[in-house]
Symmetry: C2
Subunit: 355 residues, 2 copies
């Protein structure tokens, strides 16, 4: 019987096995496995193992460079442009973030952009890397498919262009914001389609402005930006910072990676790292952040609200729950992964069992 | 007869005169007059001359340091913390932005934060300063009154905490985003109150969650964040970046400058400057930005939409219109400024005429 819950370790192992079978070097496969499984672990279910089959399809179509030379193309004291050489995006942004952290230690803050990268999973993965160094991480990316028209338009020239921010704390859970500039990320639409569930009203509208609820009809409509014209503006600015600034695809040049598995996406992303010690004292900063979090958590609630959440708390609780009880995957996804395992001649995820 | 339209120059002159009469040094007064009048010129009517009487009240109450020593308190290669010494915020952030631009020329990008600053007008004023140097400006601030509770709460621990971004272009109007992380900025609520107009539904709700439409009852409710919990998260992160990181007021510590005209606000702001040359070539960047703008402007429109706007285009058109026809001020504001002129023994704005 195919199980429905899988351990973090087995998801990580399965992805790593698949990447190795696809021809990705072992060390790179392990890093991709870790980062993708971390996405599922934190509940970013639109960005984890659900992407494995599409990634595999792209790799098998020759759309990814498996032996890339990811290198610094341009550099100043506080900045760098990384040429991803069409590698898996996880490898590019992991390297970019490490570089930004190193630079920020000297300069106080650093900003590293990428081009010729690819989809790299949830934005928070990279912003969170700053936390281990008691630093603040900010991440911006151009989404890999345009599902957002400019405000008042119907031509889909923009993407969900996400923003992530990670803020270190002392005893409290770190603040980790990870948000699309649209009401829903397109990964969430895909997850709804996989689960066979309708979308809530407000996520998408069709070309006549009517609500679109069936995630399988998502091609017929577009995502709505947060706050109307404000979200449109935010998506545009994030896209310019992560894309145009880095000579990466933006606007009309964005390749829809759901439809085209071969063309180089020239994905652009950016990571900014800030060292709180450059502005004050990190211990005082963490004390004040904790105090702010406590003030918010203990503040008066409205009507039916049972709890006031901080950004990052829900994913933290999911991590704990998933480590204990495993990560639930929908049946359609399990079957898709079974097929992939057969195709790649690797041990199926289902056969690995829960632990 | 009191006129209703006033030239940019006369608004600038009147504010400068008022500042001098209040005891602000001449050079500082001129800079404040210029920046405040620029706010009205670009249609930021919640942040221009409408703030003169409250600023005057704060100055007369001893709430502003008129002879401040605005200095760099902490500095690394790409960062600085500016101690505003409780000066007018315009002076602090003008200096902070100049410093960030200078640093970015060497390091590729720079981030300068402030504490012990004060309200500095619309966020875009400072982000826009980058444009003269062909650079990108990003601005973040802690709002000067808490009108936003955490999502699901009713304690007003957060403010409208705005974000601005300015992106250089070649032939097109520069992209300038200037947005509160709430659906409406509180300055817009004040402007509605001055004009005697109701607020649209969706700007504010009362403590029971019902829509609040009367701007004069704004004390009884709170602003709504953009995109619900996402806007709450954005406001929180912006507040930490502009406030907590700089040792400035955030959360419970924010002084409501509408009610308290004396206590030091310890306002925090931050400006980030990015040199596109650090990531590529500025001419190519401007070419690509122009192309993106043209693609958006010329894209297909929805139903009744007559024009697709880029962020910054409306304020650009207002600048042109206001330079030609003058800036309209509401009667209540004109009367308030008349009283102020009498109190300060300066020439009233109305007497200066239209040009």
């Amino acid at each position: 019987m195919i199980q429905e819950h899988f351990s973090f370790e087995n998801i990580q192992l399965f992805i790593t096995d698949a990447m190795v079978a696809l021809g990705v070097p072992k060390k790179d496969s392990a890093l991709i496995g870790e980062l993708m499984a971390k996405a599922d672990l934190q509940g970013s279910d639109g960005h984890g193992i659900i992407r494995l089959a599409p990634y595999a399809k792209r790799i098998l179509s020759g759309g990814i460079n498996l032996n890339p030379n990811i290198k610094v193309k341009k550099e100043k004291l506080a900045t760098a442009l990384i040429d991803g050489d069409n590698a898996m995006g996880h490898l590019v942004m992991h390297k970019a973030t490490q570089l930004a952290i190193d630079k920020a230690k000297t300069t106080g803050m650093a900003w590293v952009g990428s081009h010729y990268s690819n989809h790299a999973g949830p934005a928070s993965l990279y912003a969170r890397m700053a936390l281990e160094h008691d630093m603040i991480g900010l991440y911006f990316a151009v989404g890999n498919a345009n599902h957002l028209p400019p405000w008042g338009g119907i031509d889909m020239l923009l993407s969900t262009n996400p923003i992530a921010a990670a803020i270190p704390t002392r005893d409290e859970i770190p603040i980790v914001l990870d948000m699309a500039t649209t009401v829903a990320a397109y990964g969430k639409v895909k997850a709804k389609a996989q689960k066979g569930e309708p979308m809530p009203e407000g996520w998408m509208i069709d070309k006549h402005g009517a609500p679109l609820l069936d995630p399988k009809r998502s091609d017929e409509g577009f995502l709505l930006p947060i706050g109307g014209y404000k979200g449109y503006g935010l998506s545009l600015v994030v896209g310019i910072l992560a894309g145009t600034l880095n000579g990466a695809a933006m606007g009309k040049d964005v390749i829809d990676f759901n439809k085209d598995y071969k063309t180089t996406t020239n994905t652009g992303q950016a990571i900014a790292i800030i060292d709180p010690n450059a502005f004050g004292d990190i211990e005082e900063f963490k004390t004040q952040t904790d105090r702010l979090i406590k003030d918010i958590k203990n503040s008066a609630k409205m009507g039916n609200t049972s709890r006031i959440w901080l950004p990052g708390e829900q994913s933290h609780e999911k991590r704990i729950e998933h480590l204990k009880n495993g990560i639930a995957l929908p049946q359609t996804l399990i079957e898709q992964l079974e097929q992939l395992a057969n195709q790649l001649h690797i041990q199926p995820l289902a056969a690995m069992g829960m632990r």
